[in-house]
Every structure is written in C-alpha cells, then in structure tokens.
C-alpha cells in the first residue's frame, strides 16, 4: 500500500510537469547533488582544519580555542540554515486526503504521509551533512548512536517548530515582518562592523574566545557538536540515547496526530472576520479593477514573503555594502540590488496575471463593463506600483548614495533595467497566454517557482554588471546606447500591450470556461 501511495504521489507530481518543467526539475536534482557535496565538503574542511600541517603553517593563529570557535560558529550557522531551509511540502494533504474516500485507512495514511513528509530530498541532505560533520569528529564508539539520535531529534524538532512557526507567520504577518527586519538588520550590522574591524576585534577577542565558546556550545549547533566532542561515558550515553529516542518518538507521534487531524479536518480553516484596509487603499489608488488585481497579488501568502524579502534586502545589504571598502560593491552591487526590487514586484504582478483570479475572470466578463478596458486597467496597475517603487529608489539613490553615479546615469540605467525586464515579462506572458496551458508558471497557482526565481536572480545580476559597471571614458557611449534602446523598448511596449489583452481575451478566458 505504501508503494501504491508513493506511486500515486509521484504521478501527481509528474503529471503536473511539462517538458520545460521536467528540465527544470532535472536541473534542480543536479543542484541538490552539488548542494550536498558543498555542504558535506565544507563540514569536512572545517573539521579537518586543525589537523592539516599545511593549514597550521598558513594559519598560525589557529589555536585550539579559535578552532573550537570556528567549529561552533559553523555548527550554529549550519543549524540556522537547516532551520530556514527545512522543506515541508511533500505531504500534499489536500490531494492525499481524497484517498480516505476510497477506504484508505486513516491511521495508515497519516503514518505514510508523516514519513513521506520527513523524507524531502533537501531535508535528507541537511541531515546527512550533520551526520558527516559529527561522525568524523567521533572520539568514542558510544558517541555514534547518541549523535545519530540527536540529529534525528534535532530534525523532528525543527520540523515541528517550523510547522507552528508558519502558522504564526500567517496569523501575525506584520509583527513577524517587523521583528525579522529588526533582527536581520542588527545581525548584519554586527557582521558589517566585525568585518571592517576584524583585526582589532580578533586581538581583543582571542583572550575571551573561551567564554564565547562556552556560550556557543549551548546553542543548538553547539549541543550537536557536544555529542561527539565531550566524553560523557557509556552509562550517560545509554541514558541520553534512551531519552533522545523517547523525545523523538513523542514528537513524531505528535506530528502523526497533527497529520491525522489535517486529513480529517480540511475545513478547519479559520472563519474569522477580516477587514481589508489594503483593498480600500488599493481601490482608492488604482481603481476597482487594478485595485482588485493588486489586492489579490498582495494577499497571496507567497507574495507576502516575497515582499518581506524585498524589504529585508535593501535594509540589510545596502548599509552592509556601504561599509565595505570595495568600490565594485558600491558601484555595481548596490544599484543592482535596488534596481532588482521593482523588477521583482513586476514579476510578482505580471508573471502569471490570470493565476490570481483564475475563474473569477468569467465574472468580470459578465459585468457590463468593457473587458478590454478592465484588462488594460490591470496591466497599467501592474506597471504602476513597481514604477512608483522604481522612482522612489532612484530618488533614494540620488539623495543617499550619490557616489554611485550622476543623476542622469542613475536614471537612464534604472529605466533601462526596468524596461528590459518588463519586455521580458511581456514576451513571457505572450507565449504563456498563447498556450493558455501549464508553462513554467502554473496558471492555477500564481507562484513563481524557485527555479525561475534562481534564473531571474542570475539575470538581474548579469544585467547589473552590464548596466552599472564603471566604464569611465566610455560611459557616454553606454548612456547613448541605453537611451536609444529605452526609446525602442518604450515604443515596442506601447504598441504591443493590446496583443496581450487580445490573447488573454481569446485564449485564456476560453480555457477558463471549459474548466468551469
């Protein structure tokens, strides 16, 4: 039965992929392989750091205390990474719960899904790396089972905490955003301060490193390291193993019960009254149609996280990069990061315009309002918000970091950047609407897949180098070329907006009707 369930889930996954997505998935699997090698490799290098004679020669300051410090920093940073990237998407409760209707026993289904959920490849990679990292440091044989059980307990704890954390995020989104912003800002400012004053800090810190280590040892990563670096004797190992197993078991049972509850109560959705001030604001600014569309974009939980990321990036990286004594950081990275923000907003709104409202478009079509007008208003709304952010960023750059270029340079470069990506999204939408079928963006779920986000980030940074790298004497040539291309792109976009509207009207709506 477990085999059948796996086959079923695999088929659900595969049937939702087209060839392009299949290629992306293969790329993703390769990426996971590289990730495993990188993580495990880094762990091995960190552990072997003090035993290699060449390293000892190169790093004379690497005393046992400093080594322990590096080890603990790595372990704790890795734990934060593990926590952040633990993936919980494999359970697919909504699809799998249908099996209950066909007589699949509830307990068995919950048990299998709990297991499937734990075995996401990314999660396995993180746990394997923990095992590699810890087991190569083992000093006594009894530490092996204790380390393995600690890794298991750590994982189920992360899984469980994260599950609850996501619910907290959903409920208290704004509080979490502000909290996270402050946390990340302070953390990165500290790192920035540390990097620019490292020599002085090292000189002052070395005598105190043992105290710092004492603290780091009791953070989650440190506790894991202790299972293989501290001699606690066989008797203690047996007791620790017993309690670790008991706790792991209890948490797994708790998760199993939660899965069961989820399978039985899909309707346990909160039915609280909700006021939509955002809708009122957007309606006032953008009008009924574009306002509604942007309201939907902003209500989507994935986009809320995107906005959170977009808010964190400038707050964290811009002050950090301003402190770095590296000219390229200021002249290329800062403007690229900032120019990427309106692009990301544009991607959120434009990448999959019919995914947010989907069937609701049919109701818009029924309205006694010109559909073309309604669609055009949406397109304009999608452009207007990122454009507003674009201008705010340009003004910010001119006022706060004028060293990155002259006003004309900044304005032309940002406009070029913005229009270039807008053109990309128009083309992407054009092909997508022509097919009106699954593409790299699922048309039912308006989420930009991680793979596409990776490609987008790559494009943004490549474009950043093209647009912002200092050319000194040749700068005017580049400005002239960019200005010309801006005019061409502007005219092209202006003339081709109708094409999208027509495709939307003729292909997408037809498909929505047939799926009604």
């Amino acid at each position: 039965m477990f085999y059948k369930l796996l086959t079923l889930n695999w088929r659900i996954f595969i049937s939702n992929l087209n060839r392009f997505q299949l290629l992306l998935t293969i790329g993703y699997i390769l990426f996971l392989g590289i990730m495993l090698v990188n993580l495990a490799g880094t762990a091995i290098v960190v552990v072997m750091l003090d035993s290699d004679p060449w390293m000892q020669l190169q790093l004379p300051w690497l005393t046992p205390e400093i080594y322990a410090f590096i080890l603990l920093v790595f372990a704790n940073t890795y734990w934060v990474m593990h926590f952040s990237f633990t993936n919980m998407r494999l359970m697919n409760i909504e699809e799998n719960r249908k099996l209950l209707g066909f007589g699949f026993p509830l307990n068995r289904l919950a048990k299998y899904l709990t297991l499937i959920g734990f075995f996401h490849p990314v999660n396995i990679i993180y746990n394997l790396t923990w095992l590699v990292f810890l087991l190569i440091q083992v000093q006594e044989f009894y530490q092996v089972p204790v380390a393995i059980m600690t890794v298991s307990l750590n994982y189920v704890l992360i899984y469980s905490i994260k599950h609850r954390f996501i619910r907290v995020v959903e409920k208290r989104f704004i509080a979490v955003v502000i909290g996270l912003l402050i946390l990340v800002f302070v953390l990165f400012q500290a790192i920035s301060f540390f990097t620019s004053n490292s020599a002085q800090i090292f000189a002052e810190m070395i005598p105190q490193v043992e105290t710092v280590n004492e603290f780091l040892m009791w953070l989650p990563g440190g506790v894991l390291v202790q299972t293989v670096t501290v001699s606690y004797g066989l008797q203690m190992a047996v007791i620790a193993f017993f309690f670790l197993t008991l706790l792991t078991g209890l948490i797994v049972i708790d998760h199993f019960n939660k899965t069961k509850e989820g399978l039985l109560n899909p309707g346990l959705r909160k039915a609280e009254e909700e006021s939509s001030k955002l809708w009122v604001v957007l309606k006032t600014i953008l009008g009924k149609n574009a306002g509604k569309y942007y309201f939907y974009v902003m209500k989507h939980p994935y986009n809320r996280l995107q906005v959170l990321t977009l808010a964190i990036i400038p707050v964290v990286y811009v002050p950090l990069l301003l402190n770095v004594d590296f000219e390229i950081a200021q002249t290329i990275l800062i403007p690229t990061i900032l120019a990427g923000i309106p692009v990301a907003l544009l991607a959120m709104g434009m990448a999959n315009m019919y995914g947010y409202e989907n069937r609701e478009f049919l109701l818009h079509l029924q309205f006694p309002l010109n559909l073309e007008k309604q669609l055009k208003e949406r397109f304009l709304g999608v452009i207007l918000v990122p454009l507003l952010v674009f201008y705010l960023i340009t003004v910010f750059e001119l006022l706060v970091i004028p060293e990155i270029g002259s006003p004309l340079q900044i304005f032309i470069a940002n406009t070029f950047f913005f229009l270039m990506f807008m053109l990309l999204f128009v083309w992407s939408s054009y092909f997508q609407y022509q097919k009106a079928t699954y593409s790299s963006f699922s048309y039912k779920h308006p989420i930009i897949p991680q793979k596409v986000t990776f490609v987008m980030s790559f494009l943004i940074f490549s474009m950043g180098y093209l647009v912002f790298v200092p050319l000194n004497g040749l700068e005017w040539y580049r400005l002239t070329i960019m200005s010309t291309v801006i005019v061409v792109m502007g005219v092209y976009l202006w003339r081709h907006m109708d094409v999208l509207v027509n495709l939307f009207k003729n292909r997408v709506l037809m498909r929505l009707w047939t799926e009604l």
Partner: protein, 252 residues
C-alpha cells in the same frame, strides 16, 4: 406578450464538437422558465452564451428586443444577472465586499443597499458570514451568496444554472419565494435544474433540451394537457429517449 429571449438557429461548438445545433427558443417576458435536460445536453452552454461568456458561430439572439452583438453587449449585460454552477465569486473578498463590488459595477443605488443585502443574507441564514472571506464558505453558502448578489443588482433577466445544487431544503423554499417575487416585479427567470419536482412546481414554461436541440416546449397550456396522463419525469424520459439499461446491473 413580449419576448425576453428570442433565439434563432443558434449553433455553438467546442473545438469542432457541436453542442448547440441550430437551436430555436422563445421565452416570454416575466415568466419563470425551466430548462431541463440530461448531462451534456447543452444547458450550461446556452446559459454561457446568454450571459456573454461564450461566443457562438451561427444564429441570432435577441434579449429584450436587442440583438446580442458587440454593439449592444454592455447594454444587455447590464440587464442580466446570473448564478452559474459552480458559482463565480471573488474568493479573497468578504461576502459583503463582494456584494458591494458587484453592485457598484451594476451601478445599483447605494442608498439602502447594505440594509437590503443584510436582510437577504439573514433570510438565507448567511448573515453571520457577511464579513467572512468567500473562500471560507461552504458550497451551499456560496450558492446562496451568488443568488443574493444576483437578486440585488435588479436584473431584468435572471439566469440560474442549477441554483438548488448543494442548497438545503429550507433555503430552496426561500429561493423559490424570492424567485416568485421577482417574477411578480416583471423579471424573467431562466432556471436549469435536474430536480424535476422543483422545476415542475416553480416554472411556468419548461423546455427539454437534448443533444443541442429543444425536444419539447411545454407552456402552461400544453403542460396541463400532457401532465394529465404522465408526470414531468415520464415526459422527460420520453423526449430524451431514455434507455434505462437496468438489465446491465442485474448481476447486483
């Protein structure tokens, strides 16, 4: 009597598969009209065409004397409201926000609108959901919300595609009351349904649609005549040439 809907030789296909094949139909103004037929007969497609959601290859449709074409489209749409199956709602809005949005689009007078909306929501036992997001409503409540909204826009022609599906018995009775009151105000109502008892009890005229053709048009006079000897169920079975095939499950 004026005609609310006048359809001549209507043909509609999906990717070369004909669904409506030269359909002719006249629906008098101010009547409750029932459209019945087996699955795949073309009922929802006909509703889709009338609401302007679907285009058609051939034929002519007149609604309240106006030909359904690009020129008259918006004028006609202003006079029509519909409840489709499944109902079309704005999932991210609360029930009340949805009603307000739609009424604003249809330019319904704002004065007293909220009171009317609340009174209808209360009548259908969904007042408590007024400020709850639409995507959290049950399928029955969604149907009732779509119905309430359609009523509030004061349509001259109300199209109801399986309006009683997943709605509780009490609410069905209340829907019937509202439909009769709308009729009394002069609204024409077209209902498609598989619940023949409700159609029989509620509708003035009934048409049986099968394989894209109107197989029978039963107005109040012909219904009386036909129903002397047979129930609507039996008439329906006769016109759609039902082969019961009961022997196929004799092994049970």
């Amino acid at each position: 009597m004026d005609r609310a809907v006048d359809i001549n030789n209507l043909t509609k296909s999906y990717e070369e598969v004909p669904v409506l094949k030269g359909l002719d139909l006249e629906i008098p103004e101010g009547t409750i009209f029932g459209l019945i037929g087996p699955n795949g007969a073309g009922k929802s497609t006909l509703i889709g065409v009338l609401t302007g959601l679907l285009n058609f290859e051939q034929g002519e449709i007149n609604i309240h004397g106006l030909e359904l074409n690009e020129r008259n489209e918006l004028k006609i749409k202003r006079s029509i409201a519909s409840v489709l199956q499944p109902p079309l709602l704005f999932e991210q809005f609360s029930s009340l926000e949805f009603i307000e949005y739609v009424c604003e689009v249809y330019e319904v007078e704002k004065e007293g609108l909220i009171e009317k909306a609340y009174s209808l929501l209360e009548y259908f036992d969904i007042k408590d959901f007024a400020k709850i997001k639409v995507n959290k409503l049950s399928s029955g409540s969604r149907k009732k919300l779509a119905f309430v909204t359609a009523v509030l826009v004061n349509p001259k022609l109300l199209l109801l595609d399986e309006p009683f599906e997943s709605v509780d018995v009490i609410s069905i009775e209340r829907m019937k009351v509202v439909i009769r009151r709308l009729k009394a105000k002069g609204t024409t109502i077209i209902i498609t349904s598989h619940i023949l008892e409700v159609v029989e009890n509620l509708c003035d005229d009934i048409a049986i649609l099968h394989k894209g053709h109107i197989k029978a048009y039963l107005d109040s006079v012909s219904r009386k005549e036909l129903q002397k000897d047979a129930s609507l169920h039996e008439i329906f079975e006769k016109y759609v040439e039902v082969d019961r095939k009961d022997d196929m499950v004799d092994w049970l």
